[in-house]
């Protein structure tokens, strides 16, 4: 059987169909089916990654079928290095999330079965959104993804889950509508210039006045900035991450938010090269603000889940900075960062979720001295924290440093300010580490149990990936580099030459 993206998307959907046929009462079977499906999807994705020709800059695994011919809409999918890496991350994270959150569907409004159907549908849509090469198809997945997440937060979350779910949905829909307006405008323009189409490649050759281009760019960019999220469009994230179950949060921050930064590369940069150049300085400023602002806010949080959400805002600032630095280091670094952030946030969120479900609270002050009580859990949290603060030798260091170096060669001031973020990162990680893990064991924590075998199995691959890619990121970089360089060269940028060596 040849591997194809359609097959990859059909697998989770098939799993969801099987799940819906199962009886509601048998929760264990539902979990097993979900785990099996996600594992098979992960295997297929790895198979695709192996077959992927990394030196070929053309789209691969291309499929195109007419969907709504009267509007020129196609079901068109394909892969380049960037989307491959993100699909790989999605497919590998999914079974980890299922396994790690084995019991998190219990407190929900609906059955366990429904929970996993939603997870599987979300996985399928996430793969679709990264694979789509038709703008309309992308948009459909982009918006449809909100639905399972809405129900996952609102139905299975904790605390103010309904309010958070609504805030998330409305905020995202608002951005999505701006994007829809831009997409329709693109469609109309393409009709005026030789045939209606939604094909990304064809649309990138449209002629537009700079005003039109700027407006359409903003329509896309604001949607992605909300999704990413970039300061000042970030306030939905802490609420959503706080209310969602840990597994959902991982998918939300690790996968869903990447659609924003991925979209910036795939759509903002490719479709609107001139507008990109116009807005780059503004976006660089926003990215730098995100980095510093997110870090300060993380330091000021009292709740561990909100803290992690704010660290992510800081990290997304780095990703955006790398994308708009327009250097190969910044671009490859940003894509690698997306991958690495998925795993380091997954580690943080999963362990924080285990901690708070054991303690019955996610307030940092309620913990204390966990290192002596639950050493494995404490170590996992510490390790995840080190990954988040980009300790050299762990994967996030490679990407963060690439972003900083790539930015420095073109925008030294932005890079310098962003680098201060690494000191703040040490603060926002070490403060909760000290409060929760160190010090005397405070009342209420004496009898917490350490990680179970299932939880250890779930966290091990995450830690292994973080460590492995810290020392040996080449397998991913070799896939990303050609695509990243291609994007930049299409925009007419090349890496700045060393300043001291040209003249002398």
């Amino acid at each position: 059987m040849t591997l194809s993206l359609t097959l990859l998307m059909a697998l989770p959907l098939f799993g969801a169909a099987v799940l819906s046929a199962l009886p509601k009462t048998n929760a264990l079977l539902a979990k097993q089916v979900a785990l099996g499906t996600t594992l098979v999807s992960a295997a297929v994705t790895i198979g695709i990654a192996v077959q992927f020709q990394r030196d070929n800059i053309d789209l691969q695994f291309v499929e195109s079928h007419q969907w709504i011919p009267s509007f020129g809409i196609n079901y068109a999918v394909g892969l380049d290095g960037i989307s491959l890496v993100l699909i790989l991350m999605t497919a590998v994270l999914a079974p980890i999330v299922v396994l790690a959150g084995w019991n998190e569907s219990q407190s929900g409004r609906w059955s366990t079965k429904t929970f996993y159907i939603l997870i599987l549908v979300l996985e399928m849509m996430a793969i679709g959104v990264f694979a789509a090469t038709d703008v309309f198809l992308f948009y459909v997945f982009f918006e449809a993804m909100l639905v399972p997440v809405y129900f996952l937060i609102g139905g299975y979350g904790t605390g103010k889950r309904s309010a958070a779910a609504v805030k998330f949905l409305l905020y995202s829909l608002f951005g999505g509508l701006l994007m829809l307006a831009s997409i329709i405008a693109l469609y109309v323009l393409s009709g005026e210039q030789g045939g209606h189409t939604f094909d990304t490649q064809a649309l990138s050759h449209l002629h537009m006045s700079s005003m039109t281009q700027n407006l359409l760019f903003l329509g896309f960019f604001i949607a992605f900035a909300i999704k990413a999220p970039l300061w000042p469009f970030h306030t939905w994230l802490p609420d959503a991450a706080d209310a969602a179950t840990p597994g959902t949060s991982v998918l939300l921050l690790g996968v869903l938010d990447k659609v924003g930064t991925f979209g910036m590369i795939r759509y903002c940069l490719t479709l609107f090269p001139n507008a990109t150049k116009t807005f780059t300085p503004t976006i660089i400023v926003l990215a730098v603000i995100s980095i510093i602002y997110g870090a300060f806010l993380a330091i000021g949080q009292k709740d561990i889940k909100r803290l992690i959400a704010f660290t992510s805002i800081s990290h997304f600032g780095f990703i955006t900075l790398g994308i708009f630095a327009m250097t190969s280091q910044g671009h490859s670094g940003a894509t690698l960062y997306m991958f690495n952030h998925g795993f380091s946030t997954a580690a943080l969120f999963l362990v924080a979720g285990w901690m708070s479900s054991r303690r019955g609270s996610s307030t940092i002050a309620d913990f204390g001295g966990l290192q002596r009580v639950t050493p494995v859990m404490a170590w996992s949290f510490f390790f995840a924290g080190m990954s988040s603060l980009a300790l050299p030798g762990l994967s996030s260091f490679v990407s963060e440093f690439l972003v900083l170096v790539g930015t420095f060669t073109r925008y030294p001031v932005a890079a310098v300010i962003a680098t201060f973020g690494i000191v703040l990162a040490a603060l926002y990680i070490l403060i909760p580490v000290q409060r929760a893990l160190h010090g005397p064991t405070t009342p209420g924590n004496e009898n917490l149990s350490d990680l179970t075998l299932r939880e250890k199995i779930a966290i091990t691959p995450v830690i292994a990936i973080i460590l492995f890619l810290g020392f040996y990121p080449s397998p991913l970089l070799k896939v990303i580099n050609p695509a990243a360089t291609h994007v930049i060269s299409q925009l007419g940028f090349s890496d700045p030459a060393p300043t001291q060596l040209g003249g002398k």
Binding site: W236, V405, P498, Q500
Partner: protein, 629 residues
């Protein structure tokens, strides 16, 4: 450069130890410490083997390299996981693994009562591996990995007993201040890449002559920032005193002999940058001079034996940095002082550990006294270290420190006079505070608590102390015999013309010895005559009070950085909640509010709807009529 595929074992052996001990957990409690010690010793053996091979090669081909794999490669940003061993790094390798192994042995006994001894050894092995990576990396980025790796190991070891909140805070403080320094190293790499297109040692060495002074100065200053963080130099010195929260063997290995000297390594390794950037070099000298006095002054008022030694470490590293700032003529002396300091300071720290071991973990020297009777071996080994740090001939410090002072004077002009005098003054202060430590600890009347039962430490503890004491006695003589170390390192550094001697070596030595004698005499006058109170007297001058508070370093940091940071954080948290999220919620409540207002028009009375319809129809007709008119 020659290829040698054995270098990786230097790092791999201790790294494997750390991994095994951490993963095996409690199962390795019984044998973990032995494994860790053996692996450290094995790494030392590999180092010795490398040294013997290196000695067998002619001068020009002594450096060897090993490329492990391609680490990062994006565009022109290419860096291999590559190791390099040359005359400079072999000194460090032997110091790290040699002293490291001794301290492993010492810790077997010192930590034998600790429930988590295995974890301690895992961290020690991790540290050795990271430190070796630091000195073996062949580019600044490889060095950076080791650089933060030792920071992590140091964090873990300072906070080894982190169940005590103060210790946990100390470890956090060390990590964060180190990160500030690390930022400097990041900047240095970025500037190097942006301006020179490379950040490997070999690459920059090649490109440096063609580069502008401005960019080299910028790189140099950033490297200096990195060095101040790791080596506890002014203005990033405040963490070192608190770092004494870690178990004493850690203080000996990491916070005296090896990790804190990484800054000196960095500057010496970057000699080709600093040689071409006089401004950066001057800053190095200034930082070194300030710190050597700063540390020495703090040391005079410390009652905690470990903190007194920590202040001394800070000051001695100040000497090394000063030496390294003097350029090609000073690098070798900085390294020599680094090596001799490694012996005598580690020895003294282990001595302090031995004293604490016998005194029920008491660190306050005012509660010691007359311990030489009860701990003769500790007294003798500590005493030899004491003589070495004072610079009494023929002990180790005499050879290394005098050379730095002499070179400082030879820098010429007012600059030479200033830094030379600072170094001389530092020597006097060193003599004073070290004599104070000796007197308070080993002589006088006992001022112990009732619980204390001083006794000599077991052989596993005193043997490393004895070996280090031998080093304290002989290393200076051996390293400077026939200029051995200077000649050994010479191929790495730029050639330098012999500077005119401002002061003859004999004069410098006499001056230094004079300062030492003055310091010792004052200390004897103050502490040896009459009783020493077992609590620190309160009726002291304002200056003493300030010195006791570490010259207000923490107060300054707290007022300027911590309070500001907290202020910013609180303001931003409020802003986010009220302004940014407020705007978002504002949109929501505006929608709700306007909907509420509009809802009032829906009265539910059919007749009012009918009236509205009628009105609408009339308006519509009127509009059509007006338009068509």
């Amino acid at each position: 450069m020659l290829i040698n595929n054995g270098l990786v074992y230097l790092i791999a052996l201790p790294l494997a130890g750390a991994a095994i001990l951490l993963l095996a957990g409690r199962r390795s409690d019984k044998w973990g410490h032995i494994l860790a010690t053996l692996l450290s010793a094995a790494s030392f053996s590999v180092g010795l083997l490398q040294l013997s091979q290196m000695l067998a090669r002619p001068t020009g081909q002594r450096a060897v390299e090993q490329k492990l794999f391609e680490w990062i490669s994006v565009g022109t940003f290419k860096v291999d996981a590559g190791l390099m061993l040359d005359q400079l790094s072999i000194c460090f390798v032997l110091l790290i693994t040699g002293v490291g192994t001794l301290i492993h042995i010492y810790s077997i006994s010192y930590m034998s009562h600790d429930h988590d001894r295995r974890r301690f050894f895992a961290y020690l092995n991790l540290f050795i591996a990271a430190m070796l990576l630091l000195v073996l990396g062949n580019s600044y980025l490889n060095l950076y990995v080791g650089w933060e790796g030792v920071g992590l190991a140091s964090y873990l070891l300072i906070g080894f007993w982190n169940q005590k909140p103060a210790y946990a805070t100390a470890s956090k403080k060390a990590f964060i201040m180190n990160r500030v320094g690390d930022m400097g190293l990041s900047f240095a790499i970025m500037i190097a890449f942006a301006s020179l297109g490379t950040f490997s040692f070999a690459g920059i060495k090649e490109a440096a002559p063609h580069a502008s002074t401005a960019s080299l100065t910028a790189i140099g200053i950033m490297l200096l920032v990195a060095a101040t963080g790791k080596s506890a130099q002014f203005p990033l010195q405040a963490w070192l005193g608190d770092a004494m929260a870690g178990p004493t063997p850690v203080s000996a290995l990491i916070h005296a002999a090896t990790m804190v000297t990484a800054g000196v390594y960095l500057i010496t390794r970057s000699n080709f940058i600093f040689d071409a950037a006089p401004t950066a070099q001057l800053l190095v000298i200034i930082v070194g001079a300030i710190t050597l006095l700063f540390g020495a002054v703090i040391g005079t008022a410390k009652d905690d034996i470990k903190k007194a030694l920590a202040a001394s470490t800070m000051s001695q590293i100040g000497y090394m940095i000063l030496g390294a700032g003097l350029g090609p003529v000073g690098y070798a002396f900085a390294i020599m002082h680094l090596l001799t300091h490694g012996f005598f300071k580690a020895g003294m720290f282990l001595g302090a550990g031995s004293v604490m071991h016998g005194m029920d973990d008491e660190v306050n020297m005012r509660k010691y006294g007359n311990l030489r009777k009860f701990m003769p071996i500790t007294f003798v080994t500590f005493g030899l270290g004491y003589l070495a740090i004072l610079g009494v001939p023929p002990f180790a410090g005499f050879y290394s420190k005098d050379k730095i002072i002499e070179t400082a004077f030879n820098a010429g002009g007012i600059r030479g006079l200033l830094i030379g005098s600072a170094a001389l003054l530092g020597a006097g202060l060193t003599a004073f505070y070290m004599t104070r430590v000796m007197i308070l600890t080993f002589t006088g009347a006992p001022r112990w608590d009732e619980k204390a039962h001083p006794h000599e430490s077991p052989i596993l503890m005193w043997l490393p102390m004895a070996i280090l004491a031998i080093g304290s006695v002989s290393s200076g003589f051996l390293l400077s015999r026939g200029n051995a170390l200077v000649n050994w390192l010479a191929p790495l550094f730029a050639e330098h013309a012999e500077k005119a001697e401002v002061l003859k070596p004999v004069v410098v030595t006499s001056l230094a010895l004079l300062m030492v004698v003055i310091g010792v005499v004052i200390a004897f006058m103050k502490y040896s005559r009459g009783e020493v109170s077992s609590v620190a007297p309160e009726d002291v001058s304002a200056l003493t009070k300030i010195v006791r508070r570490d010259l207000l370093q923490d107060d300054f940091n707290e007022a300027v950085f911590m309070r500001t940071g907290q202020g910013i954080t609180n303001t931003l948290v409020k802003t986010d909640e009220l302004v940014i999220d407020g705007l978002v919620r504002g949109v929501g409540s505006a929608a709700l509010g306007s909907a509420g207002a509009l809802r009032k028009s829906q009265t539910g009375f059919v007749r009012s709807y009918a009236a509205w319809i009628l009105l609408g129809a009339v308006v519509l007709v009127a509009a059509i009529w007006l338009v068509t008119l």
